[in-house]
């Protein structure tokens, strides 16, 4: 399985929704504490297990997350630690990039999500406790959602209802929002510690998973959110990111500060289905391909990006 070495510490990896072999990687220098950042657009060569870099964009501050546009196949958005977001178009010559700089957040932008059903808007989650809604054609945000009491680490659009999204915050709650409503419509006090990531089940729009510093992943049904549907324990340290599979109803993948990437089936008694310990530092970003069933990618502070098929060893040649 191929490996891509980034000069900076990896923070996030995302598959393109248009091209099966394309990914974007968000990296930050000096572990994201202080330094530059870089966005890589990489491509999997079909001839062999090789990853080629198509283009890379430098930023003044670390890049914490990246999201592909769902409407334009060559456009991606990067979340930068100086509070701005940069929009890149890989079809334009490199000198023309970035095409936009969206600066409204007062603090680091930590999470991005593009609307997979409406395809025209995206959300940004920031350490300034707010979530903002944007479209590519406007330089200013459309809405600001300010209710969390602490950093918002992650946002996720509902895969079925184009106006509903969830936000995970360091105030230990997950909030469900509807862009048609002025405030949050539901508050789930999911964990006793900070919640770092959330994601919706692609096949059951009422199920949402949350990952927390308390090393657990909990699956919630919003219709009965007092008690979790399932609690997934197994990580040794804080769980940094989770993602439900776009192809299989019960499968989700998670990455953690225990340097592993884990696969879970939350409907089964013994939920841990796979564990990959290929990273030698914090595993910080993970993604499952929407186009290719079973294809997954992960990145971490060890400056490596792995892409492999589920069931194979990511470090195999």
């Amino acid at each position: 399985m191929p490996v891509f070495k980034t000069p900076f510490n990896g923070y996030s990896v995302r598959f393109s929704p248009f091209y099966e072999s394309r990914l974007a990687v968000a990296t930050a220098q000096n572990f994201g504490i202080l330094g530059n950042g870089r966005v890589h657009v990489i491509d999997l060569a079909s001839s062999g297990p090789v990853i080629n870099e198509l283009i890379a964009f430098d930023t003044a501050d670390g890049v914490y997350d990246v999201a592909w546009s769902e409407s334009h196949d060559s456009v991606l958005v990067a979340a930068v630690a100086d509070g701005s977001m940069k929009v890149y178009d890989t079809a334009l010559p490199p000198q023309a990039n970035p095409v936009r700089s969206l600066k409204e957040h007062a603090r680091e932008v930590h999470g991005l999500d593009y609307n997979p059903t409406r395809r025209d808007s995206f959300l940004s989650a920031s350490w300034d406790d707010s979530v903002k809604l944007w479209t590519l054609d406007r330089p200013a945000s459309l809405r600001t959602f300010r209710e969390h009491a602490y950093c918002v680490y992650s946002v996720a659009w509902n895969p079925k209802h184009a106006d509903v999204f969830a936000s995970a915050s360091g105030d230990c709650t997950v909030r469900i929002w509807d862009v048609r409503e002025p405030g949050s419509t539901m508050i789930i006090p999911g964990h006793e510690h900070e919640i770092l990531s959330c994601d919706w089940n692609k096949y059951d729009e009422c199920l949402i998973a949350t990952a927390s510093v308390d090393k657990s992943i909990k699956i919630w049904d919003v219709r009965n959110y007092r008690v979790p549907v399932s609690v997934l324990n197994g990580h040794g340290y804080a769980v940094r990111k989770i993602k439900f599979s776009p192809h299989r109803r019960n499968l989700l993948v998670s990455c953690s500060y225990d340097m592993t990437v884990c696969l879970w089936d939350f409907m089964v008694e013994d939920a841990l289905v796979g564990r990959y310990d290929h990273h030698t530092e914090f595993a910080v970003g993970v993604d499952l391909s929407v186009l290719v069933d079973g294809l997954m990618a992960s990145t971490g502070w060890d400056e490596l990006v792995y892409v492999w098929q589920q069931g194979m060893d990511p470090r195999a040649a």
Partner: protein, 531 residues
């Protein structure tokens, strides 16, 4: 939508029947539309709290909010605490309204339908309350709370404003009567007394002087006692501050000791290869200190503030080990040094009005969106597909060995589907965690019945024609007609697959696969026929 066209030819024949038919067809159309409408309206209710307000939770929250220490904390932290305890937004708003807090207790941005009802009731209750309270205090209090109230109900606002004006008018009138008249009387009495005093002044000169001296002495004594009391209070408060400082110092000492132990253990374990129980730092702390070091570095200060109390911190034993260079960089920044590898990068857009390039590919439907259509058809066949599966998979396996046909990132998927089918047939739940052995990784999790048996085939077939042009082109830009033709190819393939699965024949399936521009399929056919 076609059903609306059909009643027109029938309606001319028999009017009552036609009317009923029209109604039936209109109902059908409505029923078709209604599920969509209800689907769109139902999610709003699914993602909203529908629980009634729990009185016990609200009363607990009121007690919490009434505590003097809580009163001094920012509102956002009070709300966050209650949210973490599991109160809904409506319950929190209700608790805030019940607590007699003059400061604005609700955020202006958070409006809810229930919240609006609550504000309605709150304004209504405030209007009668103002008449019962002492009139002098009422206007100011209600003005402050009135400004906080929802702006949507402006006419309520106007009514309360009129009431306020009337009340203030009455209040001032009463004040005048109560205050000014006694003052007048006092003044009159003073004048009278002065006249009397003038009379008796000469007689009472000395005793009055003595009396005055006595009263002055008394006043001085009273003032001295007040001063003493005030100074005592100052001393008490200082003592309290000292105690707090001592406690704070103790906490700081504890933290310093923890940091020292952390650094000691880091140094100890630096020699080891892999970590098992190294030094720890909390996720909050490292993020908080990372951000604060950023800020403090920007300000030129060196002190690192670990923000306590914002969120609960993990016990020290549960914190992840940070890489060695991470600690080095943290120390560098704490010392005020800037890491040397940082460059000045200008990442501003050269043309902020740059047009985005036109998309070359139409967006693809997501697997969970596309499933509802073909999946239902495919799920109806179970055993027949199971038989077909093995045949097809064995045929497709030849492709696995043929490296040039499919991209490497799709290989594994076939084996997964093969073993999935075996599991379904055998109902075997064995599972191995090893990632080195490929077959054994396939897991306990079995797709829920009905099994997505034909889905992998569909996915493969969908993937086939797309991968073929990719291999030939291998460029970012694809022809528009190719991309436009793909969705139709997909649906054609799916239809063919459903037809093929109905007829149980592996040969037919291979024969029925896509023709024409997919070289992959031709290779498959060749390889199959070669056997």
């Amino acid at each position: 939508m076609a059903t609306t066209q059909s009643p027109s030819p029938n309606s001319n024949d028999d009017k009552p029947q036609a009317v009923s038919e029209l109604v039936q067809q209109a109902n059908q159309v409505l029923q078709d539309v209604r599920p969509e409408a209800t689907k769109q309206s139902v999610p709003a209710s699914v993602f909203v709290n529908s629980e009634p307000i729990r009185e016990d939770q609200v009363s607990n929250a009121v007690k919490f909010l009434s505590h003097p220490k809580v009163r001094g904390s920012p509102v956002i932290y009070r709300r966050s605490f209650l949210e973490k305890k599991g109160l809904t937004k409506e319950e929190i708003d209700e608790a805030f309204q019940r607590v007699p807090d003059p400061s604005p207790s609700s955020q202006p941005a958070s409006l809810n339908q229930d919240g609006q009802a609550n504000s309605l009731s709150s304004i209504q209750t405030q209007v009668p309350i103002q008449t019962s309270q002492p009139l002098a205090a009422a206007p100011t209090g209600i003005v402050s709370s009135g400004t906080v109230a929802r702006r949507q109900f402006q006419w309520y606002h106007a009514v309360s404003a009129v009431g306020l004006l009337a009340a203030s008018g009455c209040g001032t009138a009463l004040l005048i009567k109560k205050v000014i008249i006694p003052k007048l009387k006092l003044w009159v009495r003073k004048v009278v007394l002065e006249e009397e005093n003038d009379y008796a002044k000469k007689i009472d000169a000395k005793p009055s002087l003595a009396e005055e001296a006595a009263t002055a002495a008394k006043a001085a004594a009273a003032a001295a006692s007040d001063v003493a009391k005030a100074s005592q209070e100052m001393l008490n408060s200082k003592n309290e501050e000292r105690r707090r400082f001592e406690e704070f110092m103790n906490l700081m000492d504890a933290q310093v000791q923890e940091m020292k132990s952390m650094s000691n253990s880091i140094r100890k374990l630096e020699g080891q290869a892999n970590s098992s129980g190294r030094a720890f730092s909390d996720h909050d702390d490292h993020r908080a200190s990372a951000s604060s070091t950023k800020q403090s570095y920007a300000n030129g200060n060196v002190d690192v503030n670990v923000q306590p109390g914002r969120s609960s911190t993990l016990p020290a034993s549960a914190e992840p080990p940070h890489p060695k260079s991470f600690m080095e960089i943290m120390e560098m920044i704490q010392r005020g040094e800037k890491p040397s590898n940082i460059r000045e990068v200008n990442d501003m857009p050269p043309n902020p009005n740059q047009q985005l390039s036109n998309p070359r590919i139409t967006p693809r439907t997501k697997p969970w969106e596309a499933q509802n259509g073909p999946r239902q058809v495919l799920q109806s066949q179970t055993s027949a597909e199971g038989l077909n599966q093995n045949g097809v998979d064995s045929g497709l396996n030849y492709l696995v060995d043929d490296e040039s046909s499919t991209p490497w990132w799709q290989w594994k998927n076939l084996r997964i589907t093969e073993i999935e089918n075996e599991d379904e047939v055998k109902a075997d739940g064995s599972y191995g965690v090893k990632t080195n052995e490929q077959p054994s990784v396939q897991r306990t999790w079995v797709p829920p019945p009905p099994p997505p048996v034909a889905m992998p085939e569909a996915a493969e077939a969908i993937r086939r024609p797309k991968s073929a042009p990719k291999e030939t082109a291998m460029q970012e830009q694809l022809a528009d007609d190719q991309s436009a033709a793909r969705p139709s190819e997909v649906t054609d393939e799916l239809q063919r697959i459903t037809k093929m699965s109905e007829s149980a024949g592996a040969v037919e399936m291979n024969g029925g696969f896509l023709t024409g521009n997919s070289t992959v399929i031709q290779e498959q056919e060749n390889s199959y026929e070669g056997n």
